[in-house]
């Protein structure tokens, strides 16, 4: 049995999205910026896609800007707000310690350019409060950027409450909703969100396409210069096949959002419940304010890359926040922000489900993970120490 449980990394594309893409690669290949009638039908499709995508998050068509994906949308939102703030001598940005690197590394860049960044601590469940944001606000704050839901531990942030505070204080609020779009209800108006990033391949759309929502009246600037596409905010011929694929995928995801969430929460909770029976195991992230398909646990005494590769032998694709899998020497910044010791964080496992996941697949995971954990613990000198009651840091 082959089980794909790494949907937070990317999802398989839906048949519907694929068919839409092929249609716009095949018969309707024209450039939406062309003046001839051929191009005009492409332009009409583009306008329609913009409207459909906007509707899915409570935005108007004119507030949707297509980008190459979530990272570009995050970069554009943050850099725009930073530059706008600088014009008024406001160079302070508030974010959290568990953001995606697309946000954190953009903030690092801005720090080098003289901006001050406050990264809010999360609690042991991986959450911040809106009150923390309020307390961190300063006269010179030009942006608050807080992710909608975390990609590793699945925690859902109090976006509407943060939005209300930012609106009251008239401070631009951006949220990286890459993991949330298509999985959680989003209403940018009701939640007072000024900018929001999404990426199609996280909800069964194609890779290489995303969107930035920017509230009418909020400021964004182009970070890719060239033609006048996207109202001059993002140059480059529109990737119409990908845009149409994204529109189809997002509409489908939103249409069955509650049904999918119910199914996924059941499978998620079954996995957490059954895998928690393995001794010396920690569940990472809030159990309730959590993405429907996210499971993240640490198994003490073992290391994540070994765990992943052994699960791979059993046909299971998962992910880990261990240093070895992150390509750096430190385990995931998200797990460390929860206060986990390095040695524990090295032993993390993320399983991320999608509506394509079946009960039989969940059962296969439940059958295999304990075997793999036991096998690795049997050969682990750290596990031996844990059994002796020694503290491992």
């Amino acid at each position: 049995m082959r089980v794909y449980a790494d949907n937070a990394a990317t999802t398989p594309i839906s048949e519907h999205a694929k068919a839409e893409m092929i249609k716009y690669m095949d018969a309707e290949y024209e450039n939406a910026s062309s003046l001839h009638s051929f191009g005009q039908s492409a332009a009409a499709a583009l306008a329609e896609a913009r409207e459909r995508i906007g509707k899915c998050i409570g935005a108007d068509a004119g507030e949707i800007y297509f980008t190459s994906g979530g990272s570009e949308a995050d970069n554009q939102a943050i850099i725009s707000a930073a530059h706008f703030g600088a014009k008024k001598n406001k160079k302070h940005i508030i974010s959290t310690k568990i953001e995606h690197h697309a946000v954190l590394h953009t903030l690092d860049r801005l720090k080098k350019e003289g901006y001050e960044v406050t990264l809010l601590d999360v609690d042991e469940n991986g959450l911040i409060t809106a009150e923390q944001v309020r307390e961190a606000l300063r006269e010179d704050t030009c942006l608050v950027t807080v992710m909608f839901a975390n990609n590793e531990i699945g925690t859902i942030m109090p976006i509407a409450e943060i939005g209300a505070i930012c609106r009251e204080k008239k401070i631009p609020f951006h949220t990286d909703a890459v993991q949330a779009a298509g999985h959680l209800h989003i209403d940018v108006k009701a939640m007072n969100i000024d900018m929001l990033s999404i990426s199609a391949h996280k909800f069964h759309g194609p890779k290489g396409i995303g969107a930035l929502y920017c509230r009418r009246g909020a400021y964004i600037e182009a970070i890719i210069s060239g033609g006048a596409q996207e109202k001059g905010k993002r140059a480059g011929t529109e990737n119409l096949p990908a845009i149409m694929g994204m529109a189809a995928a997002l509409e489908d995801a939103v249409a069955s959002i509650d049904e999918n969430a119910e199914k996924l929460c059941k499978m998620r909770d079954k996995l957490i419940c059954e895998l928690s029976k393995i001794e010396k195991t920690i569940v990472n992230g809030d159990r309730v304010k959590r993405l429907p398909g996210n499971v993240n646990m640490c198994f003490q005494g073992i290391e994540g890359e070994s765990l992943l590769l052994m699960l791979d032998m059993y046909g299971i694709a998962a992910s880990s926040g261990s240093a070895c899998t992150s390509g750096s020497l430190d385990p995931s910044h998200v797990l460390l922000a929860l206060g986990l010791p390095h040695a524990v964080a090295h032993g993390s496992l993320r399983l991320s489900l999608s509506e394509y996941t079946t009960e039989a697949e969940v059962d296969h995971i439940i059958e295999c993970v304990p075997k793999v954990v036991e096998r690795l613990r049997e050969m682990s000198p750290v596990w031996e120490r844990i059994l002796r009651g020694e503290e491992i840091l």
Binding site: S306, S322, A323, G327, L329, P331, M379, P381, V382
Partner: protein
């Protein structure tokens, strides 16, 4: 990052996993914070390594290099085991990704640490320079 077939074989079917209760020498290197710990047990008779076992906490290459290192020294005189280099371990595994070379360094050091323990226990004199500093030399956490 892809592992060679040999690395995957030694990871999936590690040789000499376990402990030796009446070991002649035991060596442990690395630390849990870095994500790698190797512990090697030697049974030595007449200056020959008649048995060797290991326990490792770490990634696939840490397990594979431990396994290969034990294979390379099993049945060998202690003096020969002392000449084991991390390079020899890497070559025997048909290479390691660059970021994983430190695992082979740990394997070499674990073998040396176990031999040093054997020498210390038996009052055998040795050149301290043979052993040097233990610990993963290219890891950010090691003081």
């Amino acid at each position: 990052m892809a592992y060679s077939a040999k690395v995957m074989d030694h990871f999936q079917n590690p040789r000499n996993v376990g402990k030796i209760e009446d070991a002649s020498g035991v060596g442990e290197v690395g630390n849990a914070k870095c994500g790698d710990i190797m512990k090697i047990y030697l049974k030595i008779e007449n200056d020959v390594i008649v048995d060797v076992k290991f326990n490792t906490f770490g990634c696939a290459s840490a397990i594979a290099t431990s396994s290969m290192a034990t294979e390379l020294i099993k049945g060998k005189p202690v003096s020969e085991a002392l000449t084991l280099t991390n390079k020899a371990v890497v070559e025997a595994l048909d290479g390691l990704p660059p970021v994983k070379i430190h695992c082979s360094v740990l394997a070499e050091e674990a073998v040396k640490a176990a031999i040093k323990d054997y020498y210390d226990r038996n009052g055998i004199e040795y050149d301290a320079e043979l052993f040097g500093e233990s610990g993963c030399s290219n890891c950010c956490h090691c003081d």
